[in-house]
């Protein structure tokens, strides 16, 4: 399979930062706060590849820096270190040296994101259909009839009743809001989709159906995904490969079944043992 995203030594430091930030943080130090300058090293030395059509899981407890990675790749946050290359159909994008307009283009056309908090991904002043329309309009589709048809198709696909497409997602349940987010993210058929704790905080039965949907879509469209979660069940179900993070670093990476059945790092062993 073709490589679609290459991330090298990516890092994010909140605060002034100092030359000793990296050596004084991480799993060995047991902290992501630099003891010399008190900067928070949210993530550092993050390197991985994402291939077309695969699902990469990023697992770790809260504060381990897993969401930061996705936010940097989606341009929500600016990285402090490292590089990432997106291998598009026609050209390569050095993600952290493109200008603002190109970032916006990539966000709207080539990347999609589903946030844990629907408020981040949806505009509650617009209807469910309007939210999808917004993304389609951003990607330069300006035909009302076509936008409407596409929004209806997407919402039907993600099992949101199309007759509710003109209601504000404010009135929807948490699971429904996630479905609208997924429909919105998929509206421009992006080759890369970021999932940031998409099922956290939902009822178990709702979680299951959202995951089913994501998996079905993944198989149908072959979308490459990065799924950030602290939930082993989500990893088991979605991810073919998994990265385990602690204190802002990758401590282990491998095939998901290997991570779950033969974890190498003490932390991963603990994590897997406590889930069973």
């Amino acid at each position: 399979m073709k490589k679609i995203l290459g991330v090298k030594n990516l890092g994010k430091i909140h605060g002034s930062g100092c030359p000793r930030c990296l050596e004084s943080t991480g799993p060995d130090a047991g902290s992501n706060i630099c003891s010399h300058c008190s900067s928070v090293v949210a993530a550092a030395n993050i390197s991985f590849d994402l291939h077309a059509g695969e699902v990469l899981g990023i697992m770790g407890e809260s504060g381990s820096g897993k969401s930061t990675i996705v936010k940097m790749l989606f341009f929500d946050e600016e990285p402090s270190l490292g590089e990432a290359v997106f291998f598009d159909d026609e050209r390569q994008w050095d993600l952290f040296s493109v200008n603002a307009a190109e970032q916006r283009w990539l966000r709207n056309h080539r990347f999609g994101i589903v946030y844990q908090n629907p408020h981040l991904g949806l505009n509650f002043n617009f209807s469910a259909g309007g939210n999808i329309a917004e993304r389609l309009l951003m990607s330069d589709l300006a035909h009302y009839g076509q936008i409407r048809e596409r929004a209806r198709d997407l919402l039907t696909r993600t099992e949101v009743m199309p007759e509710r497409m003109d209601e504000s997602p404010k009135k929807f349940s948490g699971g429904m809001q996630q479905r609208v987010q997924i429909a919105k993210a998929l509206s421009t058929s992006p080759p890369v989709l970021f999932l940031d704790e998409v099922t956290t905080g939902l009822d178990l039965s709702v979680q299951a159906r959202i995951l089913d949907l994501i998996l079905e879509i993944q198989q149908e469209l072959g979308t490459a995904m990065i799924a950030v979660t602290h939930d082993l069940g989500v990893i088991r179900l979605l991810a073919t490969r998994t990265i385990v993070m602690k204190n802002g670093r990758i401590i282990e990476a491998g095939l998901t079944d290997q991570i779950l059945e033969d974890p190498q790092h003490a932390y991963t062993q603990q994590l897997v043992a406590s889930a069973l």
Binding site: M1, D212, Q219, L255, Q258, E261, D262, Q264, Q269, A273
Partner: protein
């Protein structure tokens, strides 16, 4: 006719280190074996001698600690599965190496037809084609048609086992790893599975298997590798038993 090797395992070693307990757990050591196409190699030995671990190391569910696991592809290219990248392993799992365990791991809410057809979908085949192929193989394995459209979660052990087999066989791998595939099957279905395995063996599939019953080893295996907790002894059965 000379059968060509599909898999060569040399000095395979695996042990686990448990950080919490600070102990090593040995799993298997110095395992050597060969699997040729059109042949089945059976792993035998007492419980705890690491039969399943060998299979899992080959499939890379376990990370081998030492030794080489050489997979010889059709184009003559050889990959050391102990060292290969995750992506290479995934590629081989998709087309090349299949694994049938005694447990069914699948999406709990999917219809049986789709569970069985999934390996084809992952490969990029159309949903309808995958369903057709799944139906064929389920029929072959005597899974009643009324079960095809419901999720296998509520099935009996034997039914689940057959679904699992169907899933492993549908992608027609070159190398098939079998971990007690008939463990919970009734005699009639076991007979069916034996027929099926013989048939695919004849078609050229190389198999490495762990069986519950010595009877199956006797009837299916062309070579037998006996593992002991200390390591593996290489014993080849003199002749093929028909």
């Amino acid at each position: 006719m000379v059968n060509i090797p599909v898999l060569t395992v040399e000095k395979l070693n695996k042990r686990f280190f448990l950080h919490e307990q600070e102990t090593f757990i040995p799993s298997c050591d110095d395992v050597n074996l060969t699997v040729n196409n059109k042949e089945m190699t059976a792993l035998v030995g007492p419980t705890g001698c690491g039969k399943s671990s060998v299979l899992k190391c080959i499939y890379r569910t376990y990370l081998p600690r030492g030794g080489r696991i050489l997979y010889h592809a059709e184009d003559g290219h050889t990959t050391d599965l102990a060292q290969a990248s995750d992506h290479r392993i995934l590629e081989l799992r998709k087309r090349g190496i299949g694994f049938v365990t005694q447990f069914l791991h699948c999406l709990p809410r999917k219809a049986t037809l789709d569970v069985v057809g999934e390996p084809l979908l992952v490969r990029g085949e159309k949903k309808a084609a995958a369903r057709d192929a799944a139906a064929d193989i389920l029929r072959l394995l005597n899974v009643p048609e009324r079960l095809w459209h419901v999720p296998p979660a509520t099935f009996s052990g034997g039914e689940k086992q057959r679904v699992n087999l169907a899933r492993g066989l549908i992608s027609r791998p070159r190398l098939l790893l079998l971990d007690e595939p008939t463990a919970s099957l009734d005699p009639a279905t076991t007979e069916r599975v034996i027929e099926l395995l013989s048939a695919i063996k004849a078609k050229g599939v190389a198999m490495l298997a762990v069986f519950h019953h010595p009877e199956l080893v006797r009837r299916l295996a062309d070579r037998v590798v006996e593992l002991t907790p200390q390591g593996a002894e290489f014993q080849e059965t003199e002749e093929k038993i028909q």
